[in-house]
Symmetry: C2
Subunit: 343 residues, 2 copies
DNA sequence: CTACGCTTTTGCAGCGCTGCAAAGCAAAGC
DNA sequence: GCTTTGCTTTGCAGCGCTGCAAAAGCGTAG
């Protein structure tokens, strides 16, 4: 395998200094048209390609940002990621993706271990079970933007929707439909379940706002927010003496799992049990029935996150950590409203 | 911001040469226990972290591999990616993900533009609309493994399932169910639609094998393999004078879209129309009805691809390009078999 | 006591690029 | 004609690490 073509090779052929070649290649100003052309020709003749590694080292930056998510195959994250990649690309950044499998240890390692720090100029992090302390003790030199449920300690930005309000809205929708026994699937009453707990809080607030008391036995915990979790939780609920007539699910996947159980038990959605989901993933727009859901503005979350991160990267003094709220809305579909055009 | 701690700083504090520190940090053999300890202490005291960029440059490798897929939010790809990331991580590789949006131009650029070459040691590429020529003209120095439908020209490996056989199997299943008018959704009768065309070939072969002739007007082309494509194609099929009583969909997403249309038109699946999908994504296991599908062994595809890529990376002389077939199977679910436990 | 062989440590060069500051040069001003 | 000004180009050092080969240390054999 022949040696790589370097700047110096090009410089020699073009009869200029290697620094000038660098200037041309990087499109710096103040290069004569004549010189530029000559260099260009040499570049093409030799098939020169800049060595990104060397450039990174010399510049002390990598032109990459990392996005860390728990699971890639969770539609919410993959949809979000897609938007992040697009937004980053516009600014000339590559995106390195890391999947933590929701393992708090892995998450902590990623934040704490600065050795990979130089591989990317900043990180967009969507933690699942990360404790606040790990965030606070991290290497502050790495620009960070957090997605999801977490409040900023001032050293990073946080982008998310108002989960409590959104959950309250979803629950109120069920109450206003006249449902009497409303269940919630997805609580996680332990340290790393902050996200879930906010949704439970909204669920409770909705009941309080309508002068109701939630039935505690209808609040079901699940280890994750996946289809099987929803399916299993629903099984449990249907086995109760007084099963629910409505369910607020903490993700659309949970809702899809729950609906699957309901239908296979011969129940009708929404006639027998109304279902609300969360995330507005594409599945929910094509499922049978389609799913009423909380729709966070993913596009805005992604672009805001990238924008703030790039600001942090380019800023010599770290900007104050901001709490950024993206908008959300309740989208009503068949799983609560029924089929509009009855087949 | 203070200067980074370097190997030399550690060396000075520990009273050894920087090369020795490097040896310790990298766990090289032949370091006295005494020396190792002294260095370790200095490392900890200064909070030294190796500079990955510098290491990469010195070693001429990056320890990263890239995976290029058309869409991240397509479950098939995100499920596959997840397996690839896991497999790569086991071997100490990071995964850089790039999304082409299925844009042939973007795909070509990725392959042709060697400038990013050094950012990663190899590429696993799942092309959509890439012509064979771009593959052949590429920079051969970059180790490459292709996923999906493509045949190797000997300069890279190709991992995929036997699409023709799988499609034939899916279609034969529908024929054997006694269906008379079997449609196919997802053909792409143009240069970049190789993948789709193999499925169409299998579809035809199945008919031939059973002494049937496929109805040409029931073979529907779609621009992509998404839910909306399936929904729309199904609309079209149902508007025909003689609509189909079975559909072979070229992806599970297409199947989900098609089923959505069927149900909202008041038709029953599978009683009125049986549906087979392709990919075995999780959605299809929880949808209503669940989807009969071709299940490629994604885990094996991922681990094989990573394994072959790492072999290419570490091999001084490029190994011959292999055609690697992963197994697949037909999984029969409700969309053709009906509900086993009628609700 | 010297020689030898083995393990451990070192010094140096250099990966390929860019930052910096100085040098070169042409046009403009006195 | 000589200096000033402003644009181009250059040379050099160095980013922080590792490969290489030589040097040093050390125990054992002759």
């Amino acid at each position: 395998m022949r040696r790589e073509v370097t700047l110096r090779d090009v410089a020699e052929l073009a009869g200029v200094s290697s620094r000038t070649v660098s200037n041309v290649v990087n499109g710096y100003a103040n290069v004569t048209e004549r010189t530029r052309e000559r260099v260009q020709r040499a570049v093409e003749e030799l098939g020169y390609r800049p060595n990104v590694l060397a450039r990174n080292l010399a510049q002390g930056r990598s032109g990459q940002i990392a996005v860390v998510v728990p699971y890639l195959d969770t539609p919410y994250f993959s949809e979000l990621l897609q938007s992040v990649i697009r937004a980053a690309r516009v600014s000339g950044y590559n995106v390195l993706i890391d999947q933590t499998d929701g393992d708090p240890e892995h998450e902590r390692a990623f934040i704490a271990d600065g050795s990979r720090r130089l591989l990317f100029d900043g990180v967009i992090f969507s933690p699942l079970g990360l404790d606040q302390q790990a965030l606070t003790n991290r290497d502050r030199r790495l620009p960070l933007v957090i997605l999801g449920e977490r409040s900023s300690d001032g050293s990073f930005d946080h982008v998310g929707i108002d989960d409590v309000a959104a959950s309250r809205q979803a629950t109120e929708h069920l109450i206003d439909l006249g449902r009497q026994r409303i269940a919630a699937i997805g609580d996680q009453p332990y340290a790393t379940g902050e996200a879930a707990q906010r949704r439970t809080r909204g669920f409770r607030e909705a009941h309080a706002a309508r002068g109701r008391t939630p039935r505690e036995d209808l609040i079901i915990s699940t280890p994750r927010f996946n289809r099987p979790d929803g399916a299993q939780a629903m099984e449990h609920l249907l086995d109760l003496a007084e099963p629910p007539d409505a369910v607020f699910c903490y993700s659309d996947l949970v809702a899809l799992g729950a609906i699957r159980t309901l239908l296979s038990r011969g129940l009708r959605v929404p006639e027998d049990v109304a279902v609300v989901g969360y995330d507005d993933i594409e599945d929910g727009r094509f499922s049978n029935p389609t799913i009423t859901t909380i729709s966070p503005d993913k596009e805005m979350i992604a672009t805001t996150a990238v924008e703030r991160l790039l600001l942090r990267i380019s800023s010599p003094t770290p900007p104050a950590g901001l709490e950024l709220r993206a908008p959300h809305k309740l989208i009503i579909r068949e799983s609560t409203a029924g089929r509009s055009t009855p087949g």
